[in-house]
Symmetry: C2
Subunit: 318 residues, 2 copies
């Protein structure tokens, strides 16, 4: 048999170290480059997707709503009956140190808690030693620069999002196969990104974002079966600040398609316009005024000390 | 801030290298020990659970139904629109080499394909370079020796399994948060393991296994919303071989609780008895005759050349 295999796939079929983004991760008690940031194959965070995470961003040297992200993360960890190896202060310090060591002014900062695995190799999750991981990489956008100017082309997929009865979406999780299949469905239909249905005619969320419809001076976003996004919350708060009504309730696909404006919200890009749904223009197919006003306010808030925390670039974690 | 953090969590809060089982993995073009088998944190197989896998076992130096597992794995990979870096022959050779290098006579052999990540760090799964991983570790059982003798105590959880419309369960996947929450629900109710419902009064599957009810000389297992397990298929084929009827159709929780016998099937242990459900004995609460007959036949087949392949202990993968 050996003779039949002349040579095994080499690095050309896997990733070279140089294909990793710049950035720094904290894992298993030390800081490493992104190329070195690896988790054990046997971690149930991988083999059972038994993990939760959160992502906060840094913009011009300041964390945006760090407290809100850490609070949600700690709640997610608790709901999965996991334990973090340390408290809020140490957690924050590790995040600061990842950004500082990476030398980033604009960053995407992820914190993760995995189940880990049982030292005795049992299948009992209670025996597992949970693992905390954090990393900071350059800030990335769900919509690229051109898409942010002209608006995204979105597809409402036939695939229903995993229902909340099966997996609680308020625990931020990596159960994304439905979303990934939805992305492929969008591409097959010449759209750029996707929003999944709830199986009953309503929309839920997309890969990494919440969705909003604007109608008659009111912004409307789905209530259930979605992540309670911090940027979603921010959009609702900013809307109230400028005198818009808000509605958090089931949002039908039909209503979304008829909306005056549509936008998505995500830590990876903030408030981003959608101008096409299932191949048809949203109204005139141009960036709407409400979306624009919220976008401007969103970015202006990135200098507001109430919602931001300057990165401690002296933090080293040692 | 630095002064407030006297020291960071060290190895005592994460896993020491010595807590990994013996075994050998193949990843990124080379063979490594299980302690060294790590995947990049940025692999979407982890960050999106965008991965598929299969598990075949080796018993007394022979793979059991290797062809069936590889065929299902290749189908899963195709359905997720991924590509393996090599064909069946090379794949088999890597599996043989993992077992040979690990020196195992009884092994749990897993093959995995992850989406990988995009070299340009885009969010587009089409641009990702897929990653193949394999590993062989000592054989493990879902039910321990005592449980296999007296039968498992199972809990029918209130949590519904992720429905097939959202995630196709015939693609073997790591979307297990519903199952893990179900395990905790079972523990809270003093049961040993769990089977999830379909939300409509029927049972589906448990963490890593299918379920069967025996009634009037017939074995009955759920049709939809479950992995099409190779051991499930084996149990159906063995039942036919000994003249039992088989039924693959919705199985209500009520019918399961009233069954003459109940058993589960998994590569991790074969055919294993269940003698208690939701705290009540299944009939007399003792190991049933049909279960025992199928178990005996199942293990006898492990010497049958038609269903087994001797491990090539000369295989080194080089």
């Amino acid at each position: 048999m050996l003779d039949q295999i002349s040579s095994f796939p080499s690095a050309s079929l896997t990733e070279g170290e140089n294909s990793f983004p710049p950035g720094v991760a904290w894992i298993d008690g030390r800081f490493v480059s992104m190329a070195e940031a690896r988790i054990p194959v046997l971690d149930w965070g991988f083999l059972r997707s038994d993990a939760t995470y959160d992502v906060v961003h840094v913009w011009k040297g300041r964390f945006f709503r760090l407290d809100a992200h850490i609070e949600r993360f700690q709640n997610s960890v608790r709901k999965l009956r996991m334990r973090l190896p340390f408290g809020t202060e140490e957690l924050e310090h590790i995040l600061h140190a990842c950004v500082a060591r990476a030398g980033l002014q604009d960053a995407y900062v992820e914190m993760i808690c995995t189940r880990g695995h049982s030292p005795s190799f049992s299948r009992d999750p209670r025996e597992a030693i949970n693992r905390f991981i954090a990393f900071a990489i350059p800030f990335g956008w769900i919509a690229d620069e051109e898409q942010r100017k002209r608006g995204l082309s979105l597809w409402i997929a036939s695939i229903p999002r995993i229902p909340p009865a099966s997996v609680d979406p308020t625990i931020k999780n990596y159960h994304w196969l439905d979303l990934v299949q939805g992305i492929f469905e969008a591409y097959d239909n010449e759209a750029e990104n996707v929003v999944l249905s709830d199986g009953s005619g309503n929309v839920t969320e997309g890969p990494g974002y919440n969705i909003f419809a604007v109608e008659g001076g009111r912004i409307h976003t789905p209530e259930k079966g979605v992540l309670e996004g911090i940027t979603r919350r921010t959009a609702l708060e900013l809307a109230q600040e400028i005198g818009l009504e808000t509605l958090v309730a089931p949002l039908s696909a039909e209503k979304l398609r008829r909306a005056e404006e549509v936008f998505i919200t995500s830590t990876a890009g903030g408030i981003m316009p959608v101008t096409k749904i299932n191949g048809e223009a949203v109204r005139e197919g141009t960036l709407g005024e409400v979306t624009r006003a919220l976008q401007e306010l969103y970015w202006a808030k990135h200098a507001d000390p109430q919602w931001t925390t300057p990165v401690d670039y002296e933090a080293t974690g040692r």
